[in-house]
């Protein structure tokens, strides 16, 4: 016994020290942490951007998944220890984060020109030109259902999503106020062009919450974009709001009988930004330039149905790399799909996000 103990203790100490010292060297010089939305979108970004980037530059990438919001970035900046370098943000959060000094300012002219040589600042669509970060992809919040689980008449309008009598069963919705409030008003009969002016009044807001209240008992709240397809496939819900690309990927890659209802879709834009004060700014800038180039965005768009926010990138999007289907009809901004679309009013949300978050979470907890 005693001999064994004697020989074990030094071994243990060595192991402890190795573990402790090993962690000290964790910030290897040429490696950054990028943060994205996980699931099939995360895989698309990985294949289309991260792997080619590491091959081209030798800079390693650690990928962290998140579900939107500025909380983690704010926490890191407040505590003063930055772990995240590049983040894929919703536009509201990009603008707010910029205002609060959480994000680095980006000079669009320093980014690579478009595929046709247009300077970057002009190649980006107007929605893609903000002080902090660069535009990435058009994406949309839609609702979808599993064709196998709805026999008979199919839902076609936003009002159908809220109609528990015609379409009984549980609904999936994202656990945030944005999109849900808009959908509630659209379903309640507010014309698309008056949604935000209605939301801007206390009565309009009450109306939106009242509409949500009418289905609250049947709602399963999701957080990660990968959940809605799963909820539909498992039959846990009969319909759910979702990011359009996730549903598309389940359709073409997993042969799921999902149907997207484009009526009342909320068309939004994404941003790639850099967390202020990162000690790896140079590498982060290199990544940002690579990730928002027309070619990279087009490579993503050939893997998941979000379209590039660079004019010269749109032309590069042809067919899906695996399934071979033409991407155009599946894009949220394609003419057929955009007919009854609501454009996300990020300016309204920049002003009201905090208030709405608070009211929404209090409403949920009740």
């Amino acid at each position: 016994m005693s001999h064994r103990v004697k020989s074990v203790i030094p071994a243990i100490l060595v192991a402890l020290c190795a573990a402790a010292c090993g962690s000290g060297g964790s910030d290897k010089p040429r490696s950054i942490t990028t943060v994205s939305w996980g699931g099939s979108f995360g895989r698309a970004v990985n294949e289309a951007v991260n792997i080619p980037f590491t091959e081209a530059t030798g800079i390693g990438i650690g990928v962290e998944d998140y579900n939107g919001g500025l909380a983690q970035i704010r926490a890191q900046v407040d505590i003063g220890v930055i772990h995240w370098d590049v983040v894929d943000l919703e536009i509201t959060d990009a603008v707010r984060g910029c205002d609060e000094g959480l994000l680095e300012r980006i000079d669009l002219n320093a980014l690579p020109p478009g595929a046709d040589g247009t300077p970057a600042a002009e190649d980006f669509v107007v929605d893609g030109r903000y002080a902090c970060g660069a535009g990435s992809l058009y994406w949309s919040t839609v609702y979808a259902y599993n064709d196998d689980n709805i026999p008979g008449a199919k839902p076609t309008t936003m009002a159908d999503f809220f109609d528990l009598e015609a379409f009984p069963g549980r609904r999936g919705m994202r656990r945030v106020p944005q999109a849900n409030l808009e959908f509630a008003l659209i379903a309640d009969g507010v014309p698309l062009d008056q949604v935000y002016s209605t939301l801007d009044t206390p009565e309009g807001l009450d109306r939106a919450f009242a509409k949500l209240e009418s289905i609250k008992d049947e709602v399963i709240w999701w957080e990660a974009g990968a959940q809605p397809p799963q909820l539909l496939a498992d039959g846990e819900v009969v319909m759910t709001t979702a990011y359009n690309g996730r549903i598309f990927n389940a359709q073409v890659l997993e042969d799921q009988p999902f149907v997207i209802v484009w009526d009342g879709q909320l068309l939004d834009v994404g941003q790639v930004a850099i967390v202020a004060g990162t000690p790896r700014l140079k590498e982060a800038l290199e990544y940002l330039a690579f990730a928002t180039s027309a070619e990279s965005l087009a490579r993503i768009a050939r893997r998941i149905s979000y379209s590039p926010m660079r004019k010269s990138g749109m032309a590069l999007v042809t067919t899906h790399v695996v399934a071979g289907v033409d991407m155009e009809p599946h894009m949220p901004a394609s003419p057929a799909n955009v007919a009854r679309a609501l454009r996300f009013d990020w300016a309204w949300w920049v002003d009201h996000q905090d208030e709405m978050n608070e009211r929404f979470s209090a409403w949920l907890a009740r």
Partner: protein
């Protein structure tokens, strides 16, 4: 004795009820194992599986986790953090248990209550506090920070187990050794340690199990480089339960069964 064998209707109901409770305890865990061999990405028994059609059963989810480097990296992290935290908790915990079981220990009860408090403190509060504190020390998102945190959470288990073993230890043996001229260190090493070793090993296994299953502190303090198996499972359950999770779960069930049988064996050996 007779009453134990009489099977009146009340006793039948009672035994049936107990059987149901045991099924409730064990069945959910057992069910996962066959489902992890499902050839389809579903979480229920397909018709093919019930017909025992070999086509419906497959090892594809096991292949997936073995080939996926994210899972192997998290296994390495779990082992490094778990083993280091266990060593730390066991060393400190055993020393403390030795002190606590001395009749001369002042304020024994208070000290004991203090050392065991990490076990009952809601882990979310502990994790939140550790997040601020360790980040301030520059230990946020490091292996060392997680090792210290997990060691703290494992300590109560070591203290309780080793103290219990020491309570059964006959102090006359120490006195006898001393009267034969053995110094305190020799007495400890030659007489006491071999007798309480099963308790120490049990305590260490408990501490390891705590770290190996801990997710909340990792969620708050761990970064990309510190992803552990529970952290990876957490993400999987929250976002997309792929049957690969069931394959990992099956590994963990087998592992838990081995730990349990070891501790059970040690306990029975200690009782003898």
């Amino acid at each position: 004795m007779k009453s134990a064998f009489r099977l009146g209707p009340a006793r039948i109901v009672y035994l049936a009820f107990c059987t149901c409770v045991f099924v409730f305890l064990v069945a959910p865990i057992i069910v996962i194992v066959p489902l992890s061999f499902n050839a389809e990405p579903y979480f229920t028994f397909t018709e093919g599986m019930l017909r025992l059609d070999p086509e419906a059963w497959s090892l594809r989810w096991y292949r997936e986790i073995i080939e996926n480097e994210v899972w192997s990296a998290s296994l390495v992290n779990s082992l490094v953090i778990g083993v280091s935290a266990t060593v730390l908790a066991t060393l400190l915990g055993t020393l403390a248990a030795l002190g606590l079981s001395s009749p001369a220990m002042p304020g024994r009860r208070m000290v004991m209550a203090f050392l065991i408090s990490p076990m009952v403190t809601p882990v979310i509060i502990a994790a939140a506090g550790m997040f601020f504190f360790y980040s301030g020390l520059g230990l946020g998102q490091t292996h060392l920070g997680l090792i210290l945190a997990h060691a703290t959470l494992g300590v109560p288990f070591v203290v309780v187990t080793v103290t219990a073993t020491l309570a059964a230890y006959d102090r006359n043996l120490t006195r006898a050794a001393a009267s034969l001229g053995a110094g305190p260190w020799i007495t400890f090493r030659r007489v006491q340690l071999p007798l309480i070793a099963p308790g120490i090993i049990s305590g260490a296994l408990f501490a390891f199990a705590v770290s190996f299953d801990e997710v909340v502190v990792v969620l708050f303090m761990g970064g990309v480089e510190q992803r552990t198996i529970p952290r990876q499972m957490w993400a999987g359950i929250r976002e997309q339960i792929s049957p690969a999770i069931l394959a990992v779960a099956t590994f963990l069930i087998v592992f838990a069964a081995l730990l349990l049988l070891t501790v059970n064996w040690l306990r029975r050996r200690g009782n003898r």
